[in-house]
Symmetry: C2
């Protein structure tokens, strides 16, 4: 195919016809003329004329040549907007302490590359459409991991793999009643809040205390679905104790259509001896939809997340997904499956966990030199919280920003503003993306500017 | 981490507490006793007890040991459903002529594997979260391809990459008014129909004639958004001529909130000289959302599709997508970008197109031996239609199924049943997945059983 040549000819003639430069019924140059005129091949001209004829721009009369068709033009030519504006430049912060960041330097590049090569040399069947829920090899590995490490009660058939947490959450929405109201932790994930609002769902924010989501407040809402992060609440970092979990499960059991979405956020990295199993394992009534992702533990650019569906929803999922394809490349699914199967994933989690623990310890040890700074939510995950008594969140942020450090506060994750944030500011310190050197200087700066306030 | 050992201990004690076998306030064995009892390491026991304490199953009294907490149990233990039923076995057809199938034997395995290896050896920055709309390298390549081969008017910033057509369509839904009604071609894509119903959208089926969607009928519906396949209507295979396209664009221009989703289905494979550019290129008022995929042209297991957003929707997309991640692995994005950049994609399309043309020609040449069989929609794509005068669709299907051949009929893709299908049956012949040898015998069988009816 001559890429742009035929399109050139097509474009010139069609726009001349649309603009009226070539009048309806007017004869257009013959193919031979056009070929000589532009010094192009016969095929190029034939392709262009074929396209013009197929679309009804021109028609041929036997033995006479080609003529322009009469075309009613699209009405109301609006003025065209200016060129697409390029994306805005990044904010001018030298350092951003976002809880989303991870350290990609621990990614097991060579092992991953080696397995990918093997996967690509292997089975041509991997080019075919796979199971919409994901390849069974990967679902088996995820299932074993969840059973052994997270105490999740499941079989591989319950696991559904998808391209990231947003995708998996969106998929779950399709399995739940369309008019179901959702309860969300407040403070909590803004992005889940946003996705649900966009999907037109009604949302009930529920406050969080030092034991996580308040089930009493939840009961007062019309919500039948609740989205919780019991292992390491985002962003407060608290762990929901078993008694609270039991009341949450009781809430779910009160009505048939109630479900709990358990986002096992940052469960891969825990720094105390207290390894906390997933709530799903406590649930005997199949009310918990368990979700997790590999994007934080492995690398943000690897888009593999998963859900463990309770039997009732699994049935619905199978009805809906028959004509779909998985959203994850099968090559990558198979690579991850082999990576897990060879024990490389748990080894990676250990290595990464040690590095993150080291980073967190360093950050906290510098901050703790200053009295009045209180650290919390530090048992797990890639962020912790620091509260500065008597200083407002906005003061603390401004002081950091003056030094080129961007920090986020609790209020950034609240559905409703809280007067408390202005009395004692609590900041979310995402430390994973910084090198140890940077952590030291950054923590030192924060400590200094905050104690000077 | 001792994988299942600590979980064993945790599981036994927690379920004994939950079931009442260990009463509230009862002392549980000391860590040392437990260690000796089970011959496990100190760390294992400490991890288990730590988890039990963290979740509130047990508490410690200084110098005295561990005791069971009082836990209110989740109410109403429903009987558990039986084991998850395994997926149903595939239907017992020897051959399925699905229009979804492709021929993966032409996939350029070695070139793809080579570029993947290069991508994996390369830039560690690829592990980081990328642009939610996709890596710019890939968007640039898609943009050039669309401009040169499909006549689409766009810049790379307008391209959004996502994990498959369903994902991209779902993303577009979020950019359109939540209560917008959608017009769909009837017959058309059942899966789009299903997705939209699940999303709670109101749907207006619009009939299709030999020039595609009937714009007159569309105008009578309350729909403001229309989903069309103008290049090769699915499933009828007709091409919408320019005059019909112009009226469709005029319809869109009548109201500000109207949009056309142009699914450029199977545009990669055209067998006549008539290469038909995309409708988007005709649109001067930025009313067309153009969508396409690589899953059919490359391989079904590669999940990369894209949309070209008009400026107004692009603005909205940027507001919404700030906190999202792309749904496509960056390794695969970069592999595809390099593959296109080196001209391998257009070369692959030529090779695959030749093979598909050969398959289609063979299939048609066998069928055409029988009078009364009429082939249509064969100018492009991986399926064509065959109509058998005077025979009902169900008769034709049954006759094929007796021979182990599964065929789909027009009625499988209709929103509303049509009496016509029972007068003259029209079947959709997806030929891409069969080898040339199988095509010959399969076509011969169909010809025979249909002419015997």
């Amino acid at each position: 195919m001559k890429k742009s040549l035929y399109m050139d000819i097509y474009g010139r003639i069609s726009s001349d016809i649309l603009s009226g430069n070539i009048a309806p019924g007017e004869k257009i140059p013959s193919k031979r003329q056009m070929q000589a005129l532009l010094s192009v091949s016969q095929t190029t001209v034939e392709t262009a004329y074929g396209a013009l004829a197929a679309e009804g721009y021109i028609y041929s009369r036997a033995g006479s040549g080609y003529y322009a068709c009469e075309i009613e033009k699209p009405a109301c030519r609006a003025p065209l907007p200016d060129e697409i504006t390029p994306d805005e430049p990044e904010p001018p912060f030298g350092i951003s302490l976002s809880a989303d960041d991870t350290d990609t330097s621990v990614f097991p590049y060579s092992a991953w590359a080696k397995i990918t090569r093997e996967t690509l040399c292997g089975d041509a069947r991997l080019l075919k459409r796979g199971d919409p829920a994901g390849d069974m090899e990967l679902r088996r590995e995820i299932c074993s991991y969840l059973r052994e490490i997270r105490g999740v009660s499941c079989v591989p058939g319950q696991i559904t793999v998808g391209a990231g947490m947003e995708y998996v959450t969106g998929m779950i929405l399709q399995l739940l009643p369309i008019d179901a109201a959702f309860a969300l932790e407040d403070p909590g994930y803004k992005s889940v809040y946003k996705r649900l609002s966009l999907a037109g769902k009604s949302i009930c924010p529920v406050p969080v205390d030092e034991n996580g989501l308040l089930v009493g407040s939840l009961s007062k809402t019309p919500a039948d679905i609740v989205y919780v992060t019991p292992s390491h609440q985002f962003p407060t970092g608290v762990t929901m104790p078993v008694s609270r979990r039991a009341s949450l499960l009781r809430w779910a059991n009160e009505k048939e259509e109630r479900y709990i979405i358990e986002d096992d956020y940052d469960s891969e990295f825990r720094y105390s001896a207290k390894t906390v199993p997933a709530m799903q394992g406590m649930d005997e009534n199949r009310k918990v939809i368990y979700i997790g992702t590999f994007s934080r533990a492995l690398a943000p650019s690897i888009r593999i997340a998963y859900a463990v569906l309770p039997p009732a929803l699994l049935k619905k999922y199978k009805e809906l997904s028959g004509d779909l394809s998985s959203t994850v490349s099968r090559f990558e699914q198979q690579t991850l499956a082999a990576f897990m199967n060879r024990g490389l994933y748990t080894r990676h989690l250990r290595r990464a966990g040690n590095l993150y623990r080291q980073k967190q310890t360093l950050f906290r040890s510098v901050l703790s030199k200053t009295p009045g700074l209180r650290v919390s939510g530090a048992e797990a995950g890639l962020h912790f919280l620091v509260t500065v008594e008597g200083k407002s969140e906005s003061e603390l942020k401004r002081a950091a920003e003056k030094e080129g450090i961007r920090v986020f506060g609790l209020s950034d994750f609240r559905c409703r503003k809280s007067a408390e944030d202005e009395k004692s500011g609590t900041l979310i310190i995402g430390f994973a993306g910084l090198s140890l050197e940077k952590i030291e200087s950054c923590a030192e700066t924060l400590r200094r500017v905050w104690s000077e306030l």
